[in-house]
């Protein structure tokens, strides 16, 4: 085990993939000398050379599209998009193309593509840098979506994304990059589509992922001090959902709270609640609850940004509400 930041763990997985697979290369804006918008690929150009780490002209639709083409052409591209906000410029390539090619070619064409991007708020960068749109991607058949929350998962889920024959989108929360944790650098890929119980508990199931996991865990501690014993499930994969793990926990605790940095209306949290209600309705003792971002463009000023986002305090209050009524 080595103590690594989330950022270093992603970099370690990238290094391992790029160094071991001759077909693999990293592409995107400023991934070379600059080391990526969030310094994830820092040093990889010097270590692995320009054939492995390629800066492209400034064009999301084209470097994602070229990534799709390269994957069809037998290479194994890993695309870095600076943030999910800028990935909107590549949505046609992603939704109409990467996601559909296998199906619409009658299974003849595979797009084994990995696209990594930062998501989320908390750095005072205002709306166009701060949105959490991973649920849009999780809506689309044909792609898989992961949102690692811990340094170990940052490594293991990237390895899993790379090993998968489908297009996989990896969401890295901007506040996760400096998180530290013990990482087994010899680990293999984590299974896609599997959630994990991060904290056992008997009275409430809190489901969270990515940047919301640390808040959910802190809220569970605070709730414990009030005598509420909450379990915390880290979703890890947003598509396909691990309904089995969520259902099993909810059957035991009989209560559900979902934390989602996306906007409430049309959120992934809404989907999780719906699936739980459809499948374990009669095991519920209370209406499920959600803590999401307020439905506004995420503002710049620190106190306004904080007011817009899920906070530990809001999760605690919502958890208390679900358990105590």
């Amino acid at each position: 085990m080595t103590r690594l930041t989330y950022r270093e763990a992603v970099r370690g997985a990238l290094r391992q993939i790029l160094a071991s697979d001759p077909r693999a290369f990293l592409l995107g804006e400023d991934v070379g000398k600059y080391g990526g918008a969030y310094a994830v690929s820092k040093g990889l150009l010097a270590e692995l050379g320009p054939a492995k780490v390629r800066d492209t002209p400034l064009c999301e639709s084209t470097f994602v599209g070229a990534g799709i083409g390269a994957a069809i052409g037998g290479a194994r591209p890993i695309v870095e998009v600076m943030t999910v906000n800028f990935s909107l410029l590549a949505l046609d390539q992603i939704v109409n193309n990467a996601a559909t090619l296998r199906h619409m070619s009658g299974g003849q064409v595979a797009v084994p593509l990995v696209v990594r991007m930062a998501t989320g708020a908390g750095r005072q960068l205002a709306a166009q840098h701060s949105h959490s749109l991973e649920n849009w991607y999780a809506h689309v058949p044909g792609v898989k979506v992961v949102a690692p929350a811990t340094p170990q998962d940052a490594r293991d889920l990237l390895l899993a994304a790379y090993a998968d024959p489908n297009p996989v989108f990896v969401f890295e929360h901007v506040l996760s990059y400096p998180l530290e944790g013990e990482v087994d650098e010899t680990s293999g890929a984590a299974p896609l589509g599997r959630a994990i119980v991060r904290r056992a508990g008997t009275q409430l199931t809190i489901v969270a992922w990515g940047g919301s996991l640390p808040k959910a865990l802190a809220a569970a501690e605070a709730l414990a001090a009030e005598g509420v014993d909450a379990a915390v499930i880290d979703l890890r994969t947003l598509r396909p959902l691990d309904l089995e793990a969520i259902g099993a926990s909810v059957r035991a605790t009989r209560r559900l709270l979902v934390v989602d940095e996306g906007w409430k209306t049309g959120s992934l949290a809404g989907e999780i609640v719906a699936q739980v209600v459809e499948t374990v309705f009669f095991d519920l003792d209370a209406p499920p609850a959600r803590v999401c971002s307020r439905e506004v463009p995420i503002p710049y000023a620190a106190h306004l940004e904080a007011a817009a986002l899920p906070s530990v305090e809001r999760i605690v209050a919502a958890g208390r509400g679900v358990v105590r009524g």
């Binding site: 804006e29 400023d30 400034l58 064009c59 904080a306 530990v312 209050a317």
Partner: protein, 368 residues
């Protein structure tokens, strides 16, 4: 005699190194205009030093400077009519100061407090104000270019004599929005001036890795509009090229694309360290072509400024900036629930519900 170079391959200049001007291109501006331009150059330069210092001290969140590139926004700002619209990118926020927007309000936006007309919602260096017809940049590279074309199109449809000016960096010329905006501008022959500040870098990517075209200006040929490669560190050249393009647009002559060749002397933004990807020697080389020094040389040559003048001017500007910061810093923040205002013209029920929930709920922590 050498053959004249095409405008999109050459370099349009007014200022000469010896402090004189080229009579063929000199716009022959009155002295008081020259002195006002000079004051704006020095003001923007000093303002940005102060804004970056505030960011370093943690008093504001972000700042993206235009140091070394001031001649382009200032030259364009002076050439524009008050009724013209500006769609800036990252390095042209200060154009609004040239067009009469109050400095304290500009600085309030950097703090994002109650005096900020954007109500704390937008990042610094993305400033906008209806008062001076300046529209906010969206952080994304490119979208403002078709928007400028659309605004110009509306002016044409409504028979208004307004020109829309759209800015971008060299990196933006790789985006579909750039190419499509140029195409639309040409097809609809709209009154706009599209200005690319080629500052040689798009964060860490040099312009040579952005395109293999000989120049950026030459790209205009493909869309059937005139392209002019302008010395972007020559304030009078930028002024003249913009004024000519705007006059043509106002006369129904359609759009123009200007490539203003300049250099980003500073970091990309307050979150960048440029030594990672470019040489100090290159920066030093460009510092010799500093737009402020070049314009000053001309004014000295004209006997309009000297060291004593500058010392007094800088002291005056320094006081103006300090007074504006003092008037603004420490003002109250916009109330937390103001985030629900202006999402729509009138908040729908679910936002009112979220407002009540916010006000009833625990106070939000600030970020640690």
């Amino acid at each position: 005699m050498t053959a004249p170079t095409a405008p999109d391959l050459g370099l349009f200049q007014v200022l000469r190194d010896d402090g004189s001007t080229d009579p063929a291109t000199d716009p022959f501006l009155p002295q008081d205009t020259l002195l006002r331009m000079y004051r704006e150059l020095r003001r923007v330069r000093l303002l940005e030093v102060r804004m970056v210092a505030l960011q370093r001290q943690g008093r504001v969140g972000f700042y993206g400077t235009c140091t070394g590139q001031e001649a382009t926004p200032i030259g364009v700002g002076f050439a524009a009519d008050p009724g013209d619209w500006v769609f800036p990118a990252l390095r042209e926020s200060a154009i609004m100061l040239v067009r009469g927007f109050p400095l304290d309000r500009y600085i309030a936006q950097v703090f994002g407090n109650e005096l900020d007309v954007l109500k704390g919602r937008q990042m610094p260096s993305h400033m906008s104000a209806r008062q001076v017809n300046q529209v906010s940049w969206s952080s994304c590279i490119g979208p403002q270019i078709p928007q400028a074309v659309g605004a110009a199109w509306a002016a044409k449809m409504r028979r208004r004599s307004m020109v829309a000016i759209g800015f971008m960096g060299d990196g933006a010329t790789s985006q579909p929005d750039f190419h499509n905006a140029m195409n639309f501008a040409g097809v609809f022959k709209v009154p706009c001036v599209l200005v690319c500040q080629n500052n040689h870098w798009s964060i860490s990517v040099p312009t040579s890795r952005q395109t293999s075209s000989a120049t950026l200006a030459i790209k205009a040929r493909a869309y059937g509009l005139p392209g002019v490669r302008v010395d972007g560190n020559d304030l009078l050249a930028v002024y003249r090229a913009t004024a000519d393009a705007a006059a043509r647009a106002r006369d129904g002559g359609g759009p123009t694309f200007l490539e203003c060749v300049t250099y980003r002397i500073g970091a990309h933004s307050t979150s960048d360290d440029p030594t990672r990807y470019r040489s100090e020697a290159e920066v030093e080389e460009w510092k010799k072509r500093d737009p402020l020094d070049r314009f000053r040389r001309y004014l000295v040559h004209q006997g309009l400024v000297d060291d004593a003048h500058d010392a007094q001017l800088d002291a005056e500007i320094g006081d103006e900036i300090s007074a504006a910061i003092a008037a603004v810093e420490g003002r109250a923040n916009p109330p937390r629930d103001s985030i629900f205002d202006d999402v729509y013209a009138r908040p729908p029920w679910h936002l009112e519900e979220q407002r009540r929930e916010l006000l009833a709920g625990p106070p939000a922590p600030s970020h640690g």
